[in-house]
């Protein structure tokens, strides 16, 4: 009970710090850093809290699959956005290719 509450509080801390980071940081690349890391770690700790609270194997498999999905997809999207920002292809109609 207590350990799952601690994991939930840590996850909420990461969500709040990620949201605060995309409002307070000055640079688009540092905003990408804050948003991607905060959301991935927040959902990871939230899934850990729910796994610790439930203790059911069928639900645990689904939670781990969801965590695997997010921990693969979210850094891929952040990396694509960073390459889009770093190469300067952010015109209104898309790149001139």
């Amino acid at each position: 009970m207590m350990i799952s509450l601690i994991f939930l509080v840590v996850g909420m801390f990461f969500f709040i710090s990620g949201t605060l980071g995309i409002w307070r940081l000055p640079d688009p690349l540092s905003r990408l850093h804050s948003g991607g890391l905060g959301d991935t770690l927040g959902l990871g700790f939230l899934l850990l809290a729910l796994i610790w609270d439930q203790g059911d194997w069928g639900l645990t498999v689904k939670f781990l699959f969801l965590g695997l999905m997010v921990i693969i997809i979210n850094p891929v999207i952040t990396h694509l956005l960073a390459s889009l920002e770093f190469k300067g292809q952010t015109g209104e109609k898309g790149g001139s290719s």
């Binding site: 909420m12 949201t19 948003g35 899934l47 729910l50 969801l66 999905m69 889009l84 898309g94």
Partner: protein
């Protein structure tokens, strides 16, 4: 004790999703807007999980899985459009 944490967590997630949506409306760069939409998606998935715990109905977990897959495919398609100037 954990129920109070889940109740507070739902409100924290909804407020921070609204804040990220405001960044999506007023972001100066395109990557800011797309990152903010991705953050709203992740926060809504976390909200689905906490609501599923609160109501004791784990059908919402399957909803969260399908939501993650559909939203990630949509975001990657929009990023590819801005990289190449055309879809596909």
């Amino acid at each position: 004790m954990f129920a109070i944490g889940v109740e507070l967590g739902i409100w924290v997630l909804l407020i921070s999703a609204a804040a990220a949506m405001g960044r999506a409306f007023t972001g100066p760069a395109i990557s800011d807007r797309l990152l903010a939409i991705n953050m709203v998606t992740t926060k809504l998935v976390a909200t689905f999980l906490l609501l599923a715990w609160q109501e004791g109905n784990w059908v919402y977990l399957d909803v969260a899985l399908v939501f993650v897959l559909a939203a990630s495919v949509a975001t990657v398609a929009i990023i590819k459009y801005f990289q190449q100037g055309r879809l596909l």
